[in-house]
Symmetry: C2
Subunit: 752 residues, 2 copies
């Protein structure tokens, strides 16, 4: 979208707001900018609420004037150079002081990046400090997450409630709102979570943040293409990110940036903090590539700011140029001095990850002419920054007015967009899920998964996703839609290429963009090994990504051990806050999708078969929601002779074995344990109803490691599984050779 | 090293061989080229064995003439263009026929890459088909491992015993020597393993192969710098690799190639099979970057062969140019047509991963003028390729003679190099490991690890490695040595930069280069998530890499949950063929290193503490070797009241709790379960001696997930651990908040 048309539109809206809606902007606007759970329907159409300026405690100027400063960035209102310098030093010393007090942390990056941070937050970015969830805000990610004191200092100056002086003083302490690396889940109060993230995402593990930023920029481009109208560009924001040398070395950043170039994400602007220092010393020891040339090759526009320490105008000019290039993302290489201002430690690795020490802090104070006490924000700096609270309120109010206009003219689109913004699903959405009877034809769960995705996309406006070059194997294509591409960004099939790690992190960015965006992504289950770090970040930052992982066992056959997952089910069952689901047939696959869609703060992994499976009697969506349930039983009084436990493609084998044993007069229960995590959350009573403590004759069967199954089969039961790597052969042959058969289940059961 | 000087040296040796040693070259030379286990000392000095030419069944020409063909590549002996074309088509049809017979596989890549494959194996590479382990062979890796029928066809033509016609016919079948993706561990016989790998490494998961190749080329450069002499360049080979579009998209390849450029690995030559097709269709949908420009930026020399289908001379010229550039690795982009020759499927994704089908096979036969039966190798092609068996024998014999000269003049270096080639360690090496008493000062196990590494490097000539930009945190620097760099490749500290995934795969390449090379690599334990795919490949292809993983729990403190491993111990305990070791103090750290060094076919992960730990009474190297053992016990008759089980940094807590409980009159056993895998391998008798079945009162304590501990604490015991993400605070505070304390152990024990 053209920035010029954006500005003129904003002007139109601004006038409309000033002329027709009275005082705009609440100080805590809880409008469309709120996260999931807030009932949109109850506020739609109420119009703009009046401003209670006393709540902010800041005198406001008129909205038009405010906009000039906040929106028409880079012009006027920037403050004198002396004031900018003072503000920049304030940022530096807030970082220095917080790290010093914690005696732990990374002062070097904030000291070097303070100028670009200042310009972004004070002059360029559009945001509302009192509602960090405002939908149309510019996004900012600190990919070099260890430098998070930069972000905390900026949020503090900008007036975010989440980072008060006492929070800066509690940096890296138990229960504080300023943890050691940016997190978006420290929820000692909604306002806090709000304050510290969405923008930050979970930047810390290097390279994740830039990939998250690609996901944010993708989301903006997609939503803008779907919802903007010639007379109302309701979606319109930039995504800014600061990446360090470490991020640039990580492969994930190359993956994500290759896609960003391919997609032409023109509103993604990355600052590369080129400070030549990493933990082990000068980057010369391991990193001598030409980063800018690499980004040129990836299809980015590149700019070099040679003096990032004091070249304020150069930084401003670079941002202006970046915004003018609309068909490519921009990398602004900003050469800085790590630990700028520290006379003895600047430009050395010693300033990267340790407190400066009292002596050097004093030397830095003296060197930069900083006479203030720790944590002090000079009055003129405070006063200069104070405009962001009222300005932000105006920005959001203007946008709300714009949305009200939009809603009047484009009712249906507005409804869909509201759903995406709020995370509210249309009532009865789950009825779209297919159901099956034992008479329904058998099918691979990867195919059943595709039926679910294509059913859900009709009722969930925020569902989009794709595969890492395996769409035709993972069965993830949405048939109603084309490909999300540079020139067709309104489409919903995303082609990630063979870039699993980048894919996962991009999906985290999509999920964090708006509560109603539901990204899914796919590859072979074994290749979760390529993207595990991104998946853990999904879990940690509560991004409800749906991981569609097919070819989930030796059942994939000939591709052999490099493609056959063995330990993967257990390895994810062990990961906190992620749901590992392994459905056995159509009903269970539908159930898995229901769970995955509902869990917006917990990612889900669906392990799906390549091979055809029968529709089993007794399976159900409701059963899946409990994690484990009885699919068949011929016992009475909760006292079967034997319990067979299984998941996914082996549930059929357990059912067959049970049939045989029942013919021999045994009472046998078959339990589908589709999600251990969900089962763990059930009541003790329910658990006892499935696994009565008195019944110790238990056999599990799963085409994966037996480790962990002791939890369910107990000391007297037996686990059938695979405790070695797989093999290359047709699937049936491997199953037989590995003893994953009904015969083996029967023999094992009899041995108990 | 200069290729010209190499050639002249070879000539000198060749003359020496021809003049002084009689008929050189055994057909199965089991010299220095053999893997670990062969006793070098018994053959050193025996000189060159006589050739039994009847064993090869091939008439040999004189050695000098043979060398002209095999070594002075690219000149003469290449065969007429008609014969080359016929050979190339032979390769194509062997691939087509094998995939057709298996009705599964990937014919497209072999059909497109057959020309470069032919030129490499027939005209360029130096190898000995009858001894694939020959140390100084050129290495070849097919990074696009799905195209492995290319490799199988080439090995077949070249005369490797491991790929006979019947092996091609058993492609992708149970127990065959030609599995679905190249593997180096299919050991139905040593000759077989031999045949199929070291060169291939485990190329299949995309991007791994190119990173392995970087490791092979690093090894060559390092060993050449350490051992070559002005008059005897005993180490001198190239590393060739074919990468596809998929490899290029994976972040790991950018990581590894950035390092290859940084290190100036001039003898690494990569062919980029630029065929514009990936599984999901044209690469246009997800991959539009300028790959060659990216490699230029990474510091590579780049060449473009525009007609890879029939431009034989262009391919030859490119290789010649690549060899002439000695200070940079070379990327030769070879534009090919996937499925070349198939009239209806060439240049489409349908030829990537499926059999052509009988009809299209016939059409392709007709199109390429191929009248032969399936699997047929025409006589003139067979005859042309037949020279490689005798030529290879000569090459190795010449090298053996050269080594004999080397040994005479440079006894000490020869001894070290022999150890590296054979994998034999000097007698008594393990005595170098430090030992500790309870009175020794306490220390973090990461520091104790550094003591071990620095002790071992004095006795193990093949030990080298480093960290992903955390050397000063992981404590992995070898103090006697400098950095392995472009201009100091003889040094042994490798600086990987922040590239965990590339680091792991490069170490796999180092381990696979020579049995006596022992690579170690390091990062924070939580970042194994970034490199898990490479670690699984270590396990799968039996590369004994040592993973030094520090900051192994919440004990790292302030860096917070993004840096605190929780599920990682269990996730690796579940992975086949990898040892997860978590030592508790100095003796256990030394024991872990002993185990890791001895396990050359099984990688080891050492989880090490950031924080200081005491030297505990009762720990021992021998105990570690058993995986689990009793460190203290006040019971008699193998009947303690209670068994406390722990690992690593929590063993101290278990020991403290035991002391308290013993004061109260209880008989308590404390077990260190440092490696579950090693313990599993002990006899039932030993296991019973540690965990008597009759004692069900058991409590485990470990700062990680409790899942899996049911295996040891049983249905009646309790596991203390952490089943959530960590937190940002000083370590002691987090331990207390999470209940990882002696008080909690005591309370839990009393509740049983």
């Amino acid at each position: 979208m053209a920035a010029s048309s954006s500005v003129s539109l904003q002007t139109v809206v601004s006038r409309a707001v000033a002329g027709g809606h009275g005082s705009p902007s609440p100080s805590h606007p809880d409008h469309l900018s709120l996260p999931a759970g807030f009932r949109l329907s109850s506020i739609a159409g109420k119009g703009v609420r009046s401003l209670s300026s006393s709540r902010t405690g800041v005198r406001r100027t008129g909205p038009a004037k405010v906009r000039a400063a906040a929106v028409e960035t880079l012009e006027g209102k920037a403050g004198t150079t002396a004031l900018v310098e003072k503000s920049v030093n304030t940022i530096r010393f807030l970082a220095i002081d917080a790290v010093e007090k914690a005696n732990s942390g990374h002062p070097g990056l904030p000291m070097g990046c303070a100028p670009m941070g200042h310009i972004l937050y004070d002059e360029v970015m559009r945001y509302n400090p009192k509602n960090p969830y405002w939908f149309n805000r510019d996004r900012f990610i600190l990919s070099a997450g260890h430098g998070c004191m930069l972000q905390y200092a900026l949020l503090h100056l900008a007036g975010y409630d989440s980072v008060q002086e006492e929070d800066l003083k509690a940096f890296r302490q138990w229960g504080s709102r300023t943890p050691g690396h940016p997190e978006n889940f420290e929820t000692t109060g909604v306002e806090v979570t709000t304050g510290l993230l969405l923008e930050l995402s979970c930047g810390s593990p290097l390279g994740q943040g830039i990939a998250n930023a690609v996901g944010l920029a993708l989301s903006e481009k997609h939503l803008a293409a779907r919802f903007n109208k010639p007379d109302n560009e309701i979606v319109d924001h930039y995504t800014y990110v600061i990446v360090g040398d470490g991020c640039q070395m990580e492969g994930i950043s190359n993956e994500a940036c290759s896609l960003a170039g391919h997609w032409g994400l023109g509103k993604l602007i990355a600052f590369y903090d080129d400070n030549h220092i990493s933990i082990d010393g000068d980057t010369e020891i391991a990193f001598t590539e030409d980063v800018s040339a690499r980004f040129d090759a990836l299809g980015w526009h590149t700019i070099w700011v040679k003096n990032g320490n004091t070249g304020y105008d150069d930084i401003r000019a670079a941002i202006k140029e970046a915004k003018a290039v609309k068909d490519k993302p921009t990398l602004i290489k900003v050469t800085t001095t790590i630990g700028y201002g520290s006379p003895n430690k600047a430009n050395s690795y010693s300033v990267h990850g340790s407190a400066l020490g009292a002596k050097e802090v004093e030397a830095t104070r003296s060197n930069l002419g900083w006479p203030y006490e720790p944590f002090h924000v000079p009055d003129d700096v405070k006063s200069h920054w104070s405009r962001h609270v009222p300005d932000g309120a105006v920005l959001e109010a203007e946008w709300n007015a714009k949305f009200a206009e939009y809603e009047k003219k484009y009712k249906e689109d507005a409804e869909a967009l509201k759903g995406i913004i709020s995370g509210e699903f249309p009532a009865g959405w789950e009825k779209a899920l297919p159901t099956y009877t034992p008479e329904s034809p058998g099918d691979a769960t990867r195919n059943l998964s595709q039926q679910c995705l294509n059913a859900l996309v009709k009722v969930l406006p925020g569902l989009l996703g794709g595969s890492a070059d395996l769409a035709s194997s993972n069965m993830t294509l949405l048939k109603m839609y084309g490909d999300f591409q540079k020139d067709t960004p309104e489409e919903r099939n995303v082609r990630f290429g063979v870039r699993e790690h980048g894919m996962g992190a991009i999906c985290n960015g999509i999920a964090l963009h708006s509560p109603g965006l539901i990204p899914y992504c796919a590859t072979f289950f074994v290749f979760t090994d390529y993207m595990r770090a991104a998946m853990r970040i999904s879990a940690l930052c509560e991004a409800g990504v749906i991981y569609v992982m097919t070819h989930d066992s030796i059942g994939l056959g000939e591709d052999g051990p490099t493609h056959q997952p063995i330990e993967h089910l257990l390895s994810f069952r062990a990961m906190p806050n992620i749901l590992m689901l392994r459905p056995a047939d159509g009903n269970e696959t539908a159930g898995a999708y229901k769970v995955a869609v509902l869990n917006r703060k917990r990612p889900s992994i669906l392990a799906l078969s390549r091979q055809k499976l029968p529709q089993l009697p007794g399976t159900s969506i409701e059963g899946v929601e409990k994690g484990g349930y009885v699919i068949s039983d011929n016992s009475t009084g909760n006292k079967p002779d034997l319990i067979l436990i299984s998941t996914g493609s082996e549930l059929e084998i357990a059912a067959k074995a049970a049939d045989e044993l029942r013919k021999e007069g045994k009472s046998v229960r078959v339990v589908s344990l589709v999600s251990w995590e969900l089962f763990d959350e059930q009541s003790d009573e329910y658990k006892e109803s499935v696994f009565p403590a008195a019944v110790t004759a238990r056999v599990s069967i799963e085409a994966g490691v037996t480790l962990g199954w002791e939890k369910f089969v107990g000391s007297k039961g037996k686990a059938i599984g695979i405790d070695r790597f797989g093999a290359s052969a047709p699937a049936g042959k491997i199953y037989k050779e590995f003893g994953i058969t009904a015969e083996n289940v029967i023999a094992t059961a009899k041995s108990l």
